[in-house]
């Protein structure tokens, strides 16, 4: 019943079923690839260190994740820049 309300409200707290599924998918990616969450943290810190030498990045929102499908494994780094507005090259700020 609450599900129907939520449908109209647009957003809802995820059910424990959904949480379980997401947590499982995440933990299995690590189990299968033998990539520990600790290794990802290390990678993230080092990537941040390298990129910060050249660009100003929003360190708090950097995400490094490992994804896996039947056919491929991927390391995905999402690195937001600190000034997210679009600028034309050469434009004065």
């Amino acid at each position: 019943m609450s599900g129907l309300f939520d449908l109209f409200r647009g957003r809802r707290e995820p059910s424990s079923r959904e949480v379980a599924k997401q947590r499982l998918q995440l933990v299995l990616v690590h189990d299968r690839a033998n990539v520990s969450p600790g290794l990802l943290e290390t990678l993230k810190d080092e990537i941040v260190a390298v990129i910060s030498q050249h660009l100003e990045i929003d360190r708090a929102n950097v995400q490094v994740t490992f994804t896996q499908s039947r056919t491929e494994s991927k390391l995905v780094a999402d690195i937001p820049l600190l000034d997210g507005r679009r600028r034309r090259a050469g434009a004065k700020t």
Binding site: G3, A20, L24, L28, D31
Partner: protein, 274 residues
């Protein structure tokens, strides 16, 4: 496997995690296959933690066990306990006072090769875990059934076992989802079969609903597959038919729900069960 028409098939039932219902699943698929007229041996490979005998209700008739066979104290035929309810069903019990190392993989292969000659199916109840006992139970398997519960730890361990089987180049395992509670799934508090399948990416062979009649029948030593009124019993009989190659649709079992929940489910899930 060659000569399939003459020699029986060895199916190992395993799970990774303990307590998900391996023994119950083994006993009931065995009974269900026997009800379909197949010649079946249920083999308890959980040495030291013998349990298939009590679940099948044959505990009072054990004289010899699989370790006696392996160590040559008796003939294979002498250790087989015939189930009087089904003349084509028998049990080869585990030893209770020994440990896993008493039966090596090559021993079990030898025993199974002998059993194949005059049985259609040899169902092996594996030890939990992924160590020695698991490896021994896997050795003779033509086919592997993985039992899991719709629950994070059981699914995680099932994934680990699937990985090990892939590494061992076994045929892809088939999945039995045990103890599913349709009403809890529909209120959003239990993984559904579709979630488990998406995560594990294996073929489904059975969905067994949580059913009090399983407990009651186990109390009585009378496997629930014999109970024509039980939903779980029907689900086990369906697994047996699928093992024989029949295309049996998965039953649609529903928990109690009102019309709104049903509407909501309609848009959200495929609701495959049974």
């Amino acid at each position: 496997m060659e000569g399939k028409n003459m020699a029986g098939q060895v199916i190992t039932v395993t799970s990774g995690k303990g307590g998900v219902g391996k023994t119950t699943v083994t006993a009931n698929i065995g009974v269900a296959l026997a009800m379909l007229g197949k010649r079946v041996v249920c083999l308890d490979a959980d040495i030291g933690l013998r349990n298939l005998d009590v679940v099948m209700g044959l505990e009072n008739r054990i004289v010899y066990d699989v370790v006696d066979v392996v160590e040559g104290r008796c003939k294979l035929r002498q250790a087989l306990i015939k189930d009087k309810r089904f003349p084509e069903l028998c049990l080869l019990p585990a030893a209770q006072t020994r440990d896993k190392s008493a039966v090596r993989p090559e021993d079990l292969i030898r025993v199974c090769d002998q059993l194949r000659l005059d049985h259609d199916f040899v169902l092996i109840d594996s030890a939990a875990g992924i160590e020695e006992g698991f490896r021994t139970a896997m050795a003779p398997a033509d086919q592997v059934l993985i039992v899991t519960n719709p629950e994070v730890s059981a699914v995680r361990d099932a994934d680990r076992v699937i990985g090990l089987l892939e590494a061992a180049e076994k045929q892809p395992a088939k999945l039995v989802v045990n103890r599913l509670k349709p009403d809890v799934v529909s209120r959003g508090d239990m993984l559904d079969t579709s979630d488990v399948l998406e995560i594990l990416a294996v073929e489904l062979i059975g969905i067994i609903p949580e059913d009090e009649s399983v407990l009651i029948s186990t109390n009585r030593g009378r496997p629930v597959a014999m109970d024509v009124k039980s939903q779980a019993g029907l689900a086990f009989r369906n697994v047996a038919r699928r093992l024989l190659g029949e295309d049996v649709p998965f039953q649609t079992l529903r928990g109690q729900s009102n019309i709104f929940q049903r509407f909501f489910r309609m848009i959200h899930s495929d609701g495959r069960q049974g």
